[in-house]
């Protein structure tokens, strides 16, 4: 076989599953070293396999210019009507995702071995983490919506498990539940979308050899006009609902900030780098559909843009270091959707990748900081750590610069590409661009605010109890690697600056062939102008931050706008009042008190009482006299004989009458 790994694609997800199973089943008794050895080897191997698979795929693509799809076995099969198989596929988009997932995942595994070293439930943690890797890989490798949905739900489950990892903390379990429930709403949309697609195309495969796949068929359909709600538009919107749930967009973003209850590596891997980008991936994956409905694209763009701005504003004033990063994540995801919405799927995915690097970096550094100051997360109780933990500080700084979008760091290129496409977008492109730009300013502001509060300004923790220390190598090394990546990650797009089309776009071109024409007319010098503007915006944010947070700072009492932002626009409270409260009231007073107690229990008890009553009357036949029993046996025999022989005897006995 020429492509050993590619032909056996299943091996990539299988390895983490094995690791998870081994750790989960036997890990409880093992020392931490063994557990981490299993976990790391499984993920590392799977990373290696991914690399090999990618190499083979590139060779494969050279020969026959199409995605590699291979069905491994039938999972659900209704011959002639429906088939959902365990089919895995590999194309350029998958390549990016797989590499990001396995690579970043591997790094974060390494980091976790250091970070979780002193935590309980070590084996449990790694078992969950590997399981998450498995589901995420299934999600990105899937070749049909059903299998994709399996991964989709699986990562949801793992996220739930890991958010609630410290299940002794009420807040953690609550956060887990919240994440799960909010995601349910999105998943509901996703499922509806799937059903609609199946109803339309009678298939849920992406591409099939006989061109019966969803995308194959959709490609030949006429596109809906703007504002026309055809089947495709509705399907796309439903799918996008799912995306908003998974990728924490308005209005379903509320779970992500709470998800920070989980261990920091989890926040880095799941809630920054990989899982939350699943929505973006899904939208990009079904770009064929989206390009056929401008309306959906427009909605995506608006939602993305709004989320980017909205989350950024909240991020401005948060005091919990991880919360800040969380809102920044939401906002960055908004950028990605903005990119997808305006048709620049390439840019969106590009930003996805770079974001995976620098946001993971930021989270891990934050984790390292928290680690350093002994579990303290409130930035107002930090400060002046620069000299004490240099490595972490530098990495954090790298990440900040990267996210703020200074050249030549990653986000500069990706965010720039997105904003550029937004500027060229047909419908209110300028407005969206403006909002996005303002969000960029905010981004750089709150990030540098974070840096300032954490590393500079005077220390606000008491040196007596907290003795700050640098994290072990197992934590710092991944930080450096990620720092390097977030520096160089964007250089694929380097040529774009000089008017050429960047490598990344070229690489992804075949996947987004359908979306190519919506790229809009590009002109080099306009792009230069815009990128300069972006840099300026970032600088503004930087300067403001430097200006505001310097020397002795203290958490002032918040009022007015600050208070509003600090309380996240009271969104949670609103949801509580509008949705959760009524729901709880209804389920308590109607579903429980009336339906459950009244109807269901009533029925069950009724049946029980009825049978008891019947028994009371019937039991008198049980005289204890064996001969009576014998007669009852006879009655039964008679009935049986009648049933059996009736068809035979009916004509024989009564045939003469008629």
């Amino acid at each position: 076989m020429s492509n050993p790994i590619l032909e056996n694609l299943w091996i990539i997800p299988l390895l983490p599953l094995l690791g998870s199973a081994v750790n989960g089943l036997f890990g409880a008794k093992w020392p931490n070293r063994t557990v981490s050895a299993v976990a790391l080897s499984s993920t590392g191997l799977s990373f290696a396999c991914a690399l090999e698979a990618v190499r083979e795929f590139l060779g494969y693509y050279e020969q026959n210019h199409q995605a590699f799809v291979k069905p491994f076995f039938d999972w659900i099969l209704v011959p002639g009507h429906f088939r959902a198989g365990f089919d895995l596929q590999m194309d350029q988009l998958t390549v990016v995702m797989v590499l990001v997932v396995t690579g970043v995942g591997f790094l974060i595994h390494i980091y976790s071995t250091g970070y979780m070293a002193h935590e309980g439930g070590y084996y449990r943690f790694f078992s969950y983490l590997n399981l998450f890797m498995f589901f995420m890989l299934i999600l990105v490798l899937a070749a049909n919506f059903v299998l994709m949905f399996v991964g989709w739900e699986g990562v949801g489950l793992c996220s739930y498990l890991l958010i609630g990892f410290y299940f002794l903390r009420k807040s953690a379990t609550n956060a887990g539940n919240k994440a799960f429930i909010v995601n349910r709403i999105g998943d509901f949309g996703f499922m509806l979308g799937m059903f609609l697609l199946f109803r339309t195309f009678h298939s849920l495969d992406f591409h099939t050899p006989d061109l019966k796949g969803v995308f194959d068929q959709a490609a030949h359909l006429p596109a809906d006009a703007m504002g026309q709600f055809g089947t495709l538009t509705i399907a796309c919107l439903l799918l996008f609902v799912g995306a908003t749930g998974k990728s924490a967009q308005l209005p379903l973003y509320v779970w992500l900030p709470d998800a920070m209850e989980g261990p920091t590596p989890v926040s880095a891997l799941i809630h920054a780098a990989t899982m939350v980008t699943a929505g973006v991936y899904m939208v990009a994956r079904s770009n064929v559909l989206f390009t056929h409905s401008p309306t959906a694209m427009y909605v995506v763009a608006i939602v993305g843009c709004a989320t980017a701005f909205f989350a950024a504003t909240i991020g401005l004033v948060q005091s919990d270091i991880k919360k800040v990063l969380a809102y920044s994540t939401v906002s960055q995801l908004g950028y990605m959707f903005l990119g997808c919405g305006v048709g620049a799927f390439t840019a969106g995915i590009f930003h996805l990748m770079t974001h995976a690097f620098f946001k993971a970096l930021l989270f891990l550094s934050a984790g390292s900081v928290i680690h350093a100051v002994g579990g303290e997360q409130d930035m107002w109780k930090m400060g002046g750590l620069w000299s004490k933990i240099k490595v972490t500080a530098w990495c954090m700084l790298f990440g900040t610069i990267a996210i703020a979008g200074f050249p030549p760091f990653a986000a500069f290129f990706s965010k720039d590409a997105i904003l550029f496409s937004t500027y060229n977008y047909g419908y209110n492109g300028k407005v969206l661009y403006g909002v996005g730009l303002f969000a960029a300013i905010l981004t750089s502001f709150y990030m540098f605010r974070l840096v300032r509060l954490t590393f500079f300004t005077q220390p606000r923790y008491d040196e007596h109890h907290v003795h700050v220390h640098e994290s072990p190598g197992s934590m710092t090394v991944p930080l450096m690697v990620l720092a390097f990546l977030s520096l160089t990650g964007g250089w694929f797009a380097l040529p774009a600056l000089f008017g050429g089309k960047d490598y990344f776009a070229n690489f992804l071109a075949p996947v987004f062939a359908a979306a190519a024409e919506t790229g809009g007319a590009e002109s080099a010098q306009l792009e230069h102008i815009l990128s300069v503007v972006a840099v300026v915006a970032a600088t503004v944010g930087l300067l403001v931050a430097l200006r505001m947070y310097r020397g002795k700072v203290s958490e002032g009492k918040s009022e007015g706008l600050h208070k509003l932002l600090y309380n996240k626009y009271y969104v949670d409270e609103i949801y509580q009042a509008l949705i959760v409260g009524p729901l709880v009231w209804m389920s308590r007073n109607i579903l429980w008190k009336v339906v459950d107690v009244g109807m269901i229990d009533g029925t069950v008890n009724g049946i029980a009482d009825g049978s008891r009553a019947i028994g009371d009357t019937v039991r008198h036949t049980q005289s204890g006299n064996t001969r009576s029993y014998a007669v009852w046996v006879l009655v039964g025999a008679l009935v049986l004989a009648a049933i059996i022989f009736w068809p035979v005897l009916h004509p024989a006995l009564f045939g003469g009458v008629r």
Partner: protein, 166 residues
């Protein structure tokens, strides 16, 4: 009226009379004896049909083992005349009619459906023991083994029951 028919009717009459006397005898031992008569008569019928092996087994096992057990138990318990109590109203009034009804059903069904059978026995259809045993050990080998297990279990059960008292 061929000789076979004569023998058949003789044996059939013997069997029927035996079973009737099984019912009307009050002494259990007499019932047992009449049942033995029935079994011997049936063995004769098997022979008449040409199923000689079955006939022999019938006598050896039923006559020689099972009924001996019955007689044994009767002796052991020194079972006297049975008292014709009538505590069960149901059995007293409904018993016999129901029994007759079931019998009638079965008989009618047999008479009606046995038209499908070849009217008379194939001439001299003598099942030789070899084919029987071959069948028993080829097609029916699993049932055979199962019955052996079952009888083993039965032996154990009997032993347990017997040992219970001391």
């Amino acid at each position: 009226m061929s000789a076979a028919l004569v023998i058949f009717f003789a044996l059939a009459a013997l069997a029927v009379i035996g079973s009737i006397s099984l019912i009307i005898q009050r002494e259990p031992i007499h019932s047992a004896l009449s049942l033995i008569v029935v079994m011997v008569a049936l063995a004769g019928l098997y022979l008449l049909m040409g199923a000689e092996f079955v006939a022999a087994v019938q006598i050896i096992v039923y006559g020689g083992a099972i009924m001996v057990l019955f007689v044994f138990v009767i002796m052991l318990l020194n079972a006297g005349e049975e008292e014709r109590t009538n505590f069960s109203k149901l059995a007293t009034f409904a018993g016999i009619p129901l029994a007759l009804a079931v019998t009638g059903f079965i008989a009618a069904a047999i008479v009606h459906s046995s038209g499908a059978l070849p009217a008379a026995m194939p001439k001299g259809a003598l099942t030789d023991t070899r084919t029987l045993s071959t069948l028993l050990f080829s097609d029916f080998v699993y049932p055979f083994e199962l019955t052996s297990f079952m009888i083993l279990i039965a032996i154990l059960g009997a032993i347990v029951l017997a040992q219970r008292e001391n």
